[in-house]
């Protein structure tokens, strides 16, 4: 049964710099990197050293806690560095790519005849498995679990998010293959959740349950969608995959290779011409940002401006994101800013005038717009969390490290992205995403 979900709560933030529907090749990069720090809860154990020669799909490291889960090189070439940070923590493994890519051979196969174990093995060995994540906790799925359903969010309405209708328009066959592979992993349904307000290209996809979502962000986040379609109770597990990663899974079974190609949107008000780039997982930021970004006082973010990670131009693209945002830093003083009308600022509250101009696009910067304060205003978080959850109470339980209460109040149903807007709207400038991740980490530690 197709579900139609209409959400009233939420907030769309109009930022300048949405990518236009134009796809270009990124400039050639010969350096690629995989960053273990991107995977929460993973302790990396290296399998390669500098000078090792690898192919696309050769394991670089595995998770100490779960050795089955391997992380592989997106390209063929030579490992040139293992960069470490404080306390010798591995930051990234850098591979210098060959001119012509060589691929590890994985079992190609007719999905209709493959067994679940075969599919799982291939996914694990090829390093594609980490694209499959689970709720609760928003961590890499455990191959020993059987999820009650698999969710794919076919749209993204975070600020200046990429449009999957554009990204996937020529890759629907592989998307279908990916869906077929995922179907082997669960006895439940595969939910493909779409933006009800738009025409979508996914009508030809079989084997999925299409759900229509109406409403503002965060209606595109997995946590919100799960809670309205098939909520998670204690002990239940749901897996989810990003749409582009479904394509990677599809190619793994149709071609027998780990093909880390990815289309990425370069967005933000500091980008001269926001558009889409053909690139690969782990490529250098420079290869897309070159000559197209106003470098002056800019912040590079992989992902969107709500949940993304701050990075640098000479670092690498992330494993999961389909978007890079570049926005101005807000490191300036503003004379009597708190009292001025400030027509160039966006606010959920009507103490500013942004409600008069719902179509206006803003060049928002990273200024916190005020100092951190004790929590005063109430019912702000509730306005941007369209779930049957009391976000403030849940965050308090996380701060108090009260496991029972966290469980009772719905810690299994949320992750950072679902509460990212709480960070944004908070009058007291409280960090909701950080608190919820700490709470999740505590749950993992205490319950495993």
């Amino acid at each position: 049964m197709t579900k139609v979900v209409k959400l009233k709560k939420g907030l769309n933030i109009n930022i300048k710099g949405k990518a236009v529907n134009e796809l270009v090749d990124s400039s050639k990069s010969n350096l690629y990197a995989i960053m273990p720090t991107e995977f929460p809860g993973i302790i990396p154990k290296l399998l390669v050293k500098p000078d090792h020669v690898v192919k696309a799909g050769t394991p670089l490291f595995f998770n100490k806690h779960n050795p089955e889960v391997k992380f592989t090189s997106p390209v063929s070439g030579k490992v040139i560095a293992v960069e470490r940070g404080a306390r010798r923590k591995i930051l990234r493994i850098v591979v210098e790519a060959d001119a012509e890519l060589q691929y590890e051979d994985f079992k190609k196969g007719d999905l209709s005849s493959l067994k679940r174990e075969d599919v799982v093995d291939t996914l694990l060995n090829s390093g594609v498995w980490p694209f499959i994540r689970q709720r609760p906790y928003a961590i890499i799925a455990n191959s020993k679990d059987t999820p009650k359903a698999i969710f794919i969010s076919g749209f993204d309405n975070a600020p200046i998010a990429p449009d999957y209708n554009f990204i996937l328009k020529d890759q629907l066959d592989e998307f279908q293959n990916g869906v077929n592979a995922l179907a082997k992993l669960t006895e439940g349904k595969i939910h493909l959740n779409l933006d009800g307000e738009k025409e979508n290209i996914f009508s030809s996809i079989n084997g999925v349950e299409v759900n229509q979502f109406f409403g503002k962000h965060p209606s595109s986040t997995i946590g919100t969608q799960i809670s309205h379609v098939d909520p998670i109770n204690k002990g239940e597990i749901v897996w989810y995959v990003n749409p582009q990663d479904v394509v990677i899974i599809g190619k793994l079974f149709s071609k027998g290779i780990y093909d880390a190609k990815r289309i990425l949107a370069l967005t933000g008000s500091q980008v001269n011409a926001p558009k889409y780039y053909n690139t690969m997982v782990g490529a250098k930021m420079e290869t897309i940002a070159k000559d197209n970004v106003n470098e002056d006082n800019s912040r590079y973010i992989t992902g969107n401006v709500l949940t993304g990670t701050q990075t640098e131009k000479d670092l690498f693209l992330s494993f999961y994101d389909s978007q890079v945002s570049v926005i101005p830093e807000g490191n300036y003083y503003e004379f009597f800013g708190w009292i001025m009308p400030r027509f160039n600022k966006f606010s959920m509250s009507k103490t500013y005038f942004s409600w008069l101009m719902p179509k206006k696009e803003y060049a928002l910067d990273t200024n916190t717009n005020g100092g951190e304060r004790a929590f005063v205003m109430t019912e702000q978080y509730e306005k941007v969390v369209p779930m049957d959850i009391y976000p403030v109470e849940l965050l308090k339980a996380c701060m108090a490290e009260d496991i029972d209460k966290m469980e009772n109040l719905g810690i299994y149903e949320v992750a950072e992205e679902d509460l990212a807007l709480c960070d944004y709207v908070c009058t007291s400038k409280t960090e909701a995403q950080e608190t919820i991740r700490k709470g999740i980490d505590l749950m993992i530690k205490e319950l495993s």
């Binding site: 204690k234 103490t351 942004s354 200024n367 005020g370 109430t378 019912e379 049957d388 944004y424 400038k429």
Partner: protein, 399 residues
């Protein structure tokens, strides 16, 4: 503007950690952030943040209070000239000027004492000065009788800031509304100066000859005094005041509480900007009206107060002011949405009960709000329990 920034930048190194005048950093921060939105950028979490901050939020409340403040100033003068029998000679400006001069010291004392203490606490605790007192400092002068001695105001403010707020950890942590704590402190510590018919009009207690027919009693006091007598005709108002006068607010009372029109303008500002919770305001009014109607239905013929039309409760005394500016304080109110309806409704109900049945203290709003402040966490607790039960039920349905 540039020169000011330069000055601040020059001073800054001396008050930062390790500087000679580190002991003054909280005060410096307060001044700096008053003039400039700081240059801090996001370090974790969302990279962009809403333009609203606590300063602007509190500032909106202060703006919403201005109509009541201006009207209060006029009314101080108006009542004073009425009491000496010269109201006909005075112009509106005379009234206002008189009130302004009388009111200003109250406001100054309130802010100086309150902000001084806030800065000292911020300094010793190592956090920034919180804007909460922006509002409390304006509320306190508005809810005291005009004749309150300044030293009493100073002590009440100190009590409110220290015992009402800082012992709990400062703004955001307090259990009760600090402004009402100040008012309650005055009422219970100096009852003789806070009650009676003389205190509500400037200079009335020292006046040897009062104008003919003038009484300094508040409408609530008149109502309380009339208990047991025959029912008056409410269509003509209460005592000497017509309904219209009660709505406009030209009667004796605490400075800011009398005019429903001025309070209404403030309420519109709070509701439109979303700074004040409409749920609390709406349900408080609903609670007061509901209880008033209930009394009307149940009233024995000889109980004047119970027979008073329900809507009179909204236009006399501090009910409207409390509903708009006090009950909506987000810190001491309930935090959950459902909780806000319950909290507001009970405030209205209990305020009217106290008014009608407690002749010793005719104004029930203050006590009612403080009482519900106390119970707000309990209300929230049960609302959240409801959410937990829903979640557990879901498991049972699935199982």
């Amino acid at each position: 503007m540039k020169a000011l920034r330069k000055l601040l930048d020059n001073i800054k190194p001396h008050v930062e950690k390790g500087g000679k005048f580190h002991a003054l950093h909280a005060g410096f921060d307060a001044v700096e952030t008053l003039f400039y939105v700081p240059n801090t950028v996001t370090k974790k979490g969302a990279h962009i943040r809403d333009a609203i901050d606590l300063k602007r939020t509190m500032f909106v409340v202060v703006i919403a209070l201005i109509p009541t403040l201006l009207f209060g100033m006029w009314n101080i003068g108006h009542q004073h000239f009425l009491s000496i029998g010269e109201a006909a000679e005075g112009t509106m400006f005379d009234f206002f000027l008189f009130g302004f001069i009388k009111m200003l010291p109250l406001i100054i004392v309130s802010y100086v004492v309150g902000l001084g203490l806030e800065i000292i606490f911020a300094q010793s605790r190592g956090h920034e000065v919180n804007e909460g007192f922006f509002v409390s400092g304006m509320l306190i002068p508005l809810i005291v009788p005009i004749d309150t001695p300044l030293w009493m105001v100073a002590i009440a403010v100190a009590f409110a800031v220290i015992i009402g707020k800082e012992v709990f950890g400062g703004t955001g942590m307090n259990i009760w509304n600090p402004a009402l704590i100040a008012r309650a402190f005055l009422f219970f510590a100096y009852p003789s100066d806070m009650s009676g018919d003389k205190i509500w009009v400037e200079g009335l207690s020292d006046l040897s000859v009062v104008a003919d027919g003038f009484s300094g009693a508040t409408p609530l006091a008149v109502m309380a005094a009339e208990a047991g007598e025959t029912v008056t005709n409410f269509a003509s108002g209460i005592g000497n005041w017509s309904i219209m006068e009660l709505i406009i607010g030209s009667y004796p009372g605490s400075i800011g509480e009398t005019s429903v029109i001025a309070i209404g303008i403030g309420a519109l500002i709070l509701l439109f900007t979303g700074v004040g919770s409409w749920k609390v305001m709406f349900s408080t009014v609903a609670g007061g009206l509901a209880m008033g109607f209930l009394f009307n239905v149940l009233a024995p013929a000889d109980h004047v107060f119970m027979n008073m039309p329900a809507y009179f409760h909204l236009i006399i005394g501090g009910f409207a002011f409390g509903a708009v500016f006090m009950a909506t304080d987000p810190v001491s109110a309930t935090q959950t949405s459902t909780g806000k309806y319950i909290y507001g409704f009970l405030i209205g109900v209990i305020a009217v009960i106290i008014r009608v049945f407690n002749p010793a203290y005719p104004e029930g709003m203050m006590l009612s709000i403080l009482l519900l402040n106390t119970f707000a966490p309990l209300i929230d607790f049960y609302v959240v329990q409801g959410n937990i039960k829903r979640r557990l039920k879901r498991i049972k349905v699935n199982a």
